[in-house]
């Protein structure tokens, strides 16, 4: 029996070593989200974990660019966009990224016993060492030379107008030759790492005096890179990833240096989005003038926009990525030309299977009960009796909701007239139909979570989430192929797999997320609220409610240390909410206007919604006072409840 590999299981780290796999699976459409001002000022990228900020930066590293440049025909969408950005041209690579992760060692420098200013100077010294070493390494790689053995073949040649300043900073960094700088950087790193890692007591001053500025950026702004006495002819791009891992004072000092407009080297910085942090990125700097920001999830959720003539939809992009990933595996395994998304399409008529008569009987008798013999609804009841198939069941449910709404209308006519098809069409809507479908599926346990669009919506929190779900579905497809069967997944199979994934995501929360149990309690409370509102007979918030909201002024109270203490349970709520947002259990939209007020809206991660049988739309939320959210935590349900119960609603 032949064994097949699941391409969705080749995760980030595997791709870290295989550039071709990474580039092949990278959705080029993400580059359409980049604003125009990314080269001449600080560019900040923010997203939730798994949101793609690291992958976005990685496309600009030399390894990725060399892979793309060597096989331009294979990567046409990427080549087009990178050419538009000035990263590639007909001669080859024009910009090369030097990527550093800020989760390595820096934060621990705050704890070495040095005074705060000295700790920041040590931080800059270490960062300077790594930026310069990374730049020299990359320059050598461009010329297919070895690092560190060939470092002496690199020189930094100051441009005429900045020669004095370049020489001054060069002296601090070890000179203007690659070997001098590499040696100084190596020693600096060794000294500082010894400070951080020695098991015996050490004196923080053994780490050296530190740097009062990021001299590496200054040198890269003032000097051109030469290898073997020839100019490299490319501009460096410094990529600093995971800035949220820094201590607050380090982050502030770094962003202050990065935002200086007299720096000419391109520099990008990424950090995790934190909806419970002061919304201003940098005090004293002006967004737009000193820095540009891209919030990846926000940009992805925004309605389709026209960028360079291309329409962009995140969910469409996800399906594109899925089809790309699966293409080779399906070719090899199936020898057909089915796309992955095609294999998820189902015949909706088959969803109710052989239970049609039971379902129709129940629904029709309910309509009769709600209508109460009123002739006003006779046309609708006749339509209901004639309905067939899954679509018919949904239609009947829809009519039941409309009748329930009509029965509660405040103004009753003196001479009520019969409601006809036109009236039903006028009162109906796509959201109402979605709600009706959810009601039918929930009540009669008909498969609901299925099809490529649902997969994309479930995974739309971020790409990692989508890949994980797609991997679960593809596992089943591979199983069918291995057994020599048609690889179409039935509605029941897809629904079961996606609900299991939802359950697994829920169960992992305590293990994965700080304050995990409180996060679960908060999520459960939001889900319960959502279920109560969603499944009301009149479906007032069709297709349903999946979130809650607090006012922006309540958010401000939570952010203020003093005011937070005055809220009973405020600290605990703050910790739980911050964790929930940081780890993608809940997403937060800020400054959402409703009537006269502004809200922070908190939505459950869509992957949790199957567990609670809630719809996948993003519209509905119910605003609550912050005190009530804190109360939810204090009234926490038992661990047994958290572990066991999907909510039983409408059953």
């Amino acid at each position: 029996m032949r064994a097949y590999t699941n391409p969705f299981r080749l995760r980030a780290s595997e791709q870290q070593r295989d550039n071709r796999a990474f580039v092949r699976n990278f959705g080029a459409g993400v580059l359409d989200l980049l604003p125009n001002e990314i080269w001449d000022r600080l560019f900040v990228i923010r997203s939730a974990p798994g949101g793609g900020k690291t992958s976005l930066m990685r496309v600009f590293t030399l390894d990725s660019l060399m892979t793309i440049d060597a096989r331009r025909d294979d990567f046409e969408p990427l080549v087009t966009r990178l050419t538009d950005l000035g990263v590639l041209d007909s001669r080859g690579i024009r910009t090369f990224g030097v990527m550093l992760r800020l989760d390595r060692d820096y934060r621990a420098l705050v704890d070495v016993g040095a005074p705060p200013e000295a700790a920041v100077r040590l931080f800059f010294r270490l960062l300077d060492a790594r930026i310069m070493a990374g730049t020299i390494r990359t320059a050598l790689q461009l010329r297919r030379l070895r690092y560190p053995a060939d470092a002496g073949r690199v020189r930094f040649v100051p441009e005429p107008e900045g020669a004095d300043e370049a020489s001054r900073v060069g002296e601090i960094l070890g000179g203007l030759t690659g070997s001098g700088i590499q040696s100084t950087s190596h020693d600096a790193e060794a000294e500082i790492i010894h400070l951080l890692d020695a098991l015996r007591p050490v004196d923080w001053e053994s780490g050296g005096s530190g740097h009062n500025d990021l001299h590496a950026l200054r040198l890269l702004s003032l000097a051109e890179i030469y290898v073997d006495d020839l100019p490299l002819g490319m501009r460096p791009l410094v990529l600093l990833d995971d800035g949220h891992e820094l201590a607050p004072e380090q982050r502030e000092a770094l962003l202050d240096r990065l935002s200086k407009r007299d720096l000419r080297v391109a520099r990008w910085y990424s950090e995790r989005l934190q909806a419970l942090a002061p919304s201003q990125l940098m005090v004293g700097s002006a967004k737009g003038r000193d820095y540009a920001v891209l919030d990846l999830e926000q940009a992805a959720r925004t309605a389709a926009r026209q960028v360079h003539g291309r329409r962009f939809r995140f969910e469409k992009l996800l399906l594109e990525i899925g089809n790309l990933r699966a293409a080779r595996a399906l070719e090899r395994a199936e020898e057909g030309d089915n796309k992955f998304s095609d294999l998820l399409e189902v015949d909706h008529a088959s969803r109710i299977g052989d239970r049609a008569s039971e379902i129709f009987s129940t629904l029709n008798s309910e309509i009769d009960d709600i209508a109460g013999g009123d002739a006003r609804y006779s046309a609708w009841r006749s339509e209901a009796r004639a309905a067939q198939g899954f679509a018919g069941a949904v239609r009947i449910q829809e009519l039941a909701i409309l009748i329930a709404r009509d029965r509660r209308r405040p103004m009753q006519e003196l001479f009520p007239f019969a409601l006809g098809e036109d009236e039903a069409a006028r009162l109906s809507s796509s959201t109402l139909r979605d709600a009706a479908e959810l009601f039918v599926c929930n009540r009669f346990r008909v498969p609901y979570y299925l099809g490529p669009e649902i997969l994309a919506r479930l995974g739309s929190q971020n790409i990692e989430q989508f890949l994980s779900l797609a991997g679960d579905l593809f596992e089943q497809i591979l199983g069918l192929i291995t057994l020599g069967k048609k690889p179409d997944l039935s509605a029941t199979q897809q629904d079961r797999i996606l609900r299991s994934a939802s359950d697994a995501f829920w169960k992992q929360i305590p293990e994965r997320v700080p304050n995990g149990r409180d996060v679960q309690t908060l999520a459960l409370a939001i889900a319960r609220l959502g279920a109560e509102e969603t499944y009301r007979p009149t479906a007032p918030y069709a297709p349903g409610v999946t979130g809650t909201a607090i006012t922006m002024s309540d958010r401000d109270r939570l952010l203020d240390d003093r005011l937070r203490k005055a809220i009973p349970g405020g600290e605990r709520l703050y910790d739980a909410l911050a964790s929930a947002i940081a780890f993608n259990v809940i997403s937060a939209d800020l400054d959402v206007s409703v009537k006269a007020d502004q809200y922070m809206v908190l939505y459950l991660n869509r992957l949790l919604l199957p567990r609670f049988m809630l719809p996948l739309g993003r519209g509905g939320f119910r605003e609550k006072p912050v005190e009530l959210l804190a109360q939810w935590l204090r009234d926490a349900r038992t661990e047994l409840d958290l572990a066991q119960s999907p909510l039983e609603m409408g059953r």
Binding site: T5, N6, R9, L10, R11, A12, S13, E14, Q16, R17, L100, D103, R104, D105, R107, A108, V110, D111, A129, R130, A133, G134, Y147, P148, Q182, S185, H186, A188, E189, A190, I193, L196, D197, A198, L199, R200, P201, V202, A247, G471, Q508, P510, E511, R512, V513, P514, N515, G516, R517, D518, R572, S579, F583, T638, E639, L640
Partner: protein, 354 residues
């Protein structure tokens, strides 16, 4: 290999080791953690019943988790019990404060350095009870004490209870990185880059931590360690099934890469990891050598074997440090604790003199 021959004791045999170390020392320090783990006072109690009172008892204060009422109560009860035991034996009880710092991972190194600077005299016997001390703390504590191997009689005791281990849950383990004091160049970026070989010592659970560590390290080779022999002869199979998706779908581990170590003998794990490190160093010498990186997801007893191998070989140990711990609802805790066995390892001093 420093511990090619070794000294260990189990159950009642621990007392013999303690008395021997006491006889070879000018004084005795017992170090333990003040946490919620019900095993906290057990080793101290056994020590005081078997030996003359120690010169001092050092109590390392551990963070509290007020959102879990049951752990707070247990921690308070344990502290009271430890204080009673020390008072009854007239042993001075000194506290080592838990450091507050920006980086949670630095706490262990800060405690280790403080212990060495202020609390552990030369020529002392030092018995470290790691039963209630989290991994990211006892690794640097023991590592720091091993640096003083020529000056002290160092012993480690752990109260083994697999069932109790299974009801203590780690929370918020999502911050992968080297354990402080055991980075050993893992995070260097200015030098040549070596081949990375990751050896996770597998245990039940920890699936998401293993995934995070794999993504963090991006290793060139993975050699998972399975417990065999083990009390349950199928335990290794069960672990492979549990971690199947990560091992075979995501990482594509070669079946020949699996390493086996006795579940109950940390010195066996020490030997296995040391031999593996030496083999890779030898084979990859022309390519600049290899960095063998360990992570531990099994029992504390076994993890000491990984500690020894890493300390001696100066090879990194990584972990996803949890932000908290909780005790799952588990029935009669007192009954579960009864099934605890003390295991003692003698790591430096008298038995290892040339």
């Amino acid at each position: 290999m420093r511990w090619q021959r070794y000294v260990r004791g189990s159950g009642a045999g621990c007392a013999d080791l303690w008395r021997a170390a006491r006889a070879a020392s000018a004084g005795q320090t017992v170090v333990l953690g003040a946490g919620f783990d019900p095993r906290t006072p057990l080793a101290l109690q056994a020590y005081l019943e078997a030996c003359e009172p120690p010169t001092q008892v050092l109590l390392i204060e551990l963070p509290e988790y007020p959102e879990h009422a049951n752990t707070s109560e247990l921690a308070a009860r344990n502290l009271q019990r430890v204080e009673e035991l020390a008072a009854a034996a007239s042993a001075p009880l000194n506290r080592v404060r838990y450091p507050t710092g920006a980086d949670r991972r630095s706490a262990g190194l800060a405690i280790s350095r403080e212990l060495q600077q202020r609390h552990i005299p030369d020529d002392h016997g030092v018995l470290v009870d790691i039963s209630a001390i989290p991994t990211h703390l006892y690794f640097p504590i023991l590592g720091g004490l091993l640096e003083r191997r020529d000056e002290i009689q160092l012993q480690v005791v752990v109260a083994e209870n697999p069932l109790l281990d299974s009801v203590i849950e780690e929370e918020g383990a999502s911050d992968p990185g080297p354990i402080s004091g055991f980075a050993h160049g893992l995070t260097r970026e200015t030098g040549d880059q070596q081949v990375r070989v990751w050896c996770p010592v597998l245990g039940e659970g920890h699936g998401s931590q293993l995934t995070q560590l794999h993504e963090y390290l991006s290793p060139d080779e993975v050699c998972p360690v399975l417990p065999f022999p083990a009390r349950d002869p199928r335990r290794a199979d069960a672990l492979v099934v549990e971690h199947r998706q990560l091992l075979f779908d995501t990482i594509a581990v070669e079946p020949t890469n699996f390493v086996y170590a006795d579940e109950r003998n940390p010195f066996d794990l020490y030997r296995a990891l040391t031999q593996l490190r030496l083999r890779y160093a030898d084979a990859l010498a022309p390519l600049g050598g290899a960095l063998v990186i360990t992570s531990v997801h099994a029992s504390k007893l076994l993890s000491v074997g990984a500690l020894m191998a890493s300390w001696e070989g100066e090879s990194p140990v990584v972990a996803s440090t949890p932000t908290g711990y909780a005790l799952a609802e588990s029935g009669d805790l007192a009954q579960i604790v009864e099934d605890t066995t003390l295991e003692c390892l003698w790591l430096s001093g008298e038995p290892y003199l040339p």
